[in-house]
């Protein structure tokens, strides 16, 4: 079973995503802030990371950075309401994220992208 780490501070969004991904048979883990996220990446070594950009304590960009260094093979999907800020998107892709999904988003679409990446 593939393991997915969801780093998102909005509980409603994260539980929605979690619910959807569980339905597809993934094992999911939820953390709600940047510091926890970085710890969880190293502790869990998941197969995929879904992360928000704006979060307490450590930004999503920092998380991506960390993941790139310590676990360079884990694909990352960025889920962000910062879709407006071009720089963030560019930066995320620069760091080699697999996908960038701006909020508002469609959980079904997210599930399809997850499936494609994890194939």
């Amino acid at each position: 079973m593939k393991r997915i780490l969801i780093i998102e501070d909005d509980l409603l969004i994260s539980s929605l995503v979690q619910f959807r991904l569980k339905k597809d048979g993934y094992e999911t883990f939820l953390v709600s802030d940047g510091n926890e996220g970085i710890k969880a990446i190293d502790a869990l070594v998941p197969d995929l990371i879904i992360t928000d950009v704006m979060m307490p304590f450590r930004s999503g960009i920092e998380i991506i950075h960390h993941a790139r260094q310590s676990q360079p093979d884990i694909p990352i999907i960025v889920l962000s309401s910062l879709g407006e800020e071009e720089q963030v998107v560019l930066e995320a892709f620069n760091l080699g994220v697999a996908d960038f999904i701006p909020k508002p988003f469609n959980p079904n679409e997210l599930a399809i992208r997850v499936k494609r990446i994890l194939k």
Binding site: G34, M54, P56, F57, S81, L82, G83, E84, N94
Partner: protein, 487 residues
């Protein structure tokens, strides 16, 4: 003949104290009412606002956060990290290492992979020399700039930050403050609501973090501090920084926003020449000078205030440190009022000149002296067995109850608006503090205030003279000869 003069003075003083006491009562009642109205409107307005919109909107102004640091090595990295993860779209963080003697700079360089840059620093506002300006190649830290400069005090460090700040709004904060992740978007709102009155600055509330649990840069569990002075300051913060400022903001008469958490319009701060490093009350002085400048330019303006709890700090619970803080505040107040004495009762400066300024002169600046002499007066009356001593004892009792009234109102006020201290025991502790504070703590505050006056009078010569004679207009600070400023 002499006895006649003695009685005359006694009578006169008596009348003066009577007038003063009653005006204190009337003013505090008015302040309570005004702040209640302001808070009601604020809460209503907040009910349907979505601050998430500000974060992503391209319309929202950019914010440069300026955080001066002096010997903060222990927590500087953690503090910088939480500043960098604030929720906002367009912002930068400028940390100014003000000649720290510890390893602050090394720690920053290491943690954020900083490198020296060829930044073309231009001292538009005169400051102590800059040693270097650092940035990081790591994209995660692209918002961060660190200035390393020679020590020159908080105001001087902020001025260096103002010189290189790139965005429209300046957020001047203490680096050891704990900021809520929402703080920028909330504080920027009054600037965004500006229509026909220029919003020149926005002040925020400082919460007391002593004895509270802090998780990831936000206070999660509130607890009243253990010590008497700590608890006293909780009450005082509600009273002065929540209720008082709310009331003044209602009539657009704010003269002071906290130096630990204040937002300013950059172009205006630059137009008046930044902070004035020669006063100990640089935060109050800047606001007064900015407002004075706007009035002199005849531009309608206002200073906003956001009562949401967004910033927390540890307050001194040690008597020595607190006494020094209060002494400094008092000197800062006196100096600011001296520097801008031309505004006193001058209709040209509107509400500021006619209401706020006189209020500060009488009730903030002279309060400790008036209070102390009031008590001495009553003692004299008692000693000579004058019947009117009864009045003054009654008057003292009335003032005590007024303090009780105002304090309990402000605690209630906080409770209605935010309800932070969830534990019933905390409330009981606060109530006990409200009752005992006027007797146990207040005399100390009065004493420290009087000491502040004495120290101000002692500090003669050099800048003392300049401060005593005051600025002729708001722009005079800019014209000061740099040789003199760096003396």
């Amino acid at each position: 003949m002499y006895s006649f003069l003695f009685y005359l003075i006694l009578e006169f003083l008596g009348l003066m104290f009577l007038i003063l006491s009653f005006s204190v009562i009337v003013i505090y009642l008015i302040l309570m009412i005004l702040s209640a109205f302001e808070m009601r409107d604020y809460i209503r307005k907040n009910r349907f606002a979505d601050y998430g919109d500000i974060i992503t909107s391209p319309i929202a102004p950019g914010v440069s956060i300026l955080a001066p640091a002096f010997n903060e090595g222990q927590n500087i990295v953690q503090n910088a990290q939480s500043l960098l993860s604030l929720h906002y779209g367009k912002f930068e963080v400028i940390i100014i290492n003000d000649g720290s003697k510890d390893d602050s700079l090394d720690k920053l360089i290491q943690a954020f992979e900083l490198e020296k840059t060829n930044y073309a620093y231009n001292a538009e506002i005169e400051t102590k020399p800059i040693k270097a300006i650092y940035r990081s190649r790591n994209m995660s830290y692209r918002r961060l700039t660190v200035i390393d400069k020679e020590n020159g005090g908080k105001a001087d460090a902020l001025n260096a930050g103002i010189n290189i700040a790139d965005l429209e709004i300046l957020a001047c904060i203490d680096v050891d403050c704990i900021l809520s992740s929402e703080s920028i978007s909330r504080m920027v709102r009054p600037f965004m609501e500006e229509t026909n009155k220029k919003v020149i600055a926005v002040g925020g509330v400082i919460g007391i973090a002593n004895n509270c649990d802090v998780v990831n840069g936000t206070v999660t569990t509130y607890r009243v501090p253990e010590t008497q002075l700590g608890k006293f300051q909780v009450i005082e913060y509600f009273r002065a920084f929540l209720m008082g400022r709310m009331a003044w903001s209602r009539i657009n008469g704010l003269m002071l926003i906290s130096g630990a958490f204040g937002f300013f319009r950059k172009d205006l701060v630059r137009a008046v020449g930044g902070y004035f490093p020669k006063t100990v009350g640089e935060d109050m002085e800047l606001i007064v000078r900015m407002r004075r400048y706007m009035d002199e330019q005849k531009i309608p303006h206002k200073v906003g205030f956001v009562p949401d709890p967004l910033c927390w700090t540890e307050v001194p619970e040690d008597e020595q440190i607190l006494s020094r803080q209060r002494n400094r505040w008092m000197r800062g107040t006196i100096e600011t009022l001296q520097l801008h004495q031309a505004m006193q009762l001058n209709p040209k400066y509107g509400i500021l000149g006619m209401i706020s300024f006189p209020f500060w002169s009488i009730f903030e600046k002279s309060a400790p002296i008036l209070e102390a002499s009031g008590v001495i007066y009553t003692l004299i009356l008692l000693a000579i067995g004058d019947f009117s001593a009864v009045y003054f004892i009654a008057l003292l009792a009335m003032m005590y109850l007024l303090s009780l009234l105002v304090s309990s109102f402000s605690v209630l006020y906080e409770q209605i608006a935010f309800n932070h201290y969830k534990d019933k025991k905390d409330l009981q502790k606060l109530i006990w503090m409200i009752i005992t504070e006027p007797i146990l703590v207040h005399p100390k505050i009065v004493f420290w205030g009087v000491m502040g006056h004495i120290d101000f009078i002692k500090g003669k010569g050099g800048w003392g003279i300049m401060i005593r004679s005051g600025f002729k207009n708001a722009e005079e600070k800019k014209k000061l000869n740099p040789q003199v400023t760096s003396s």
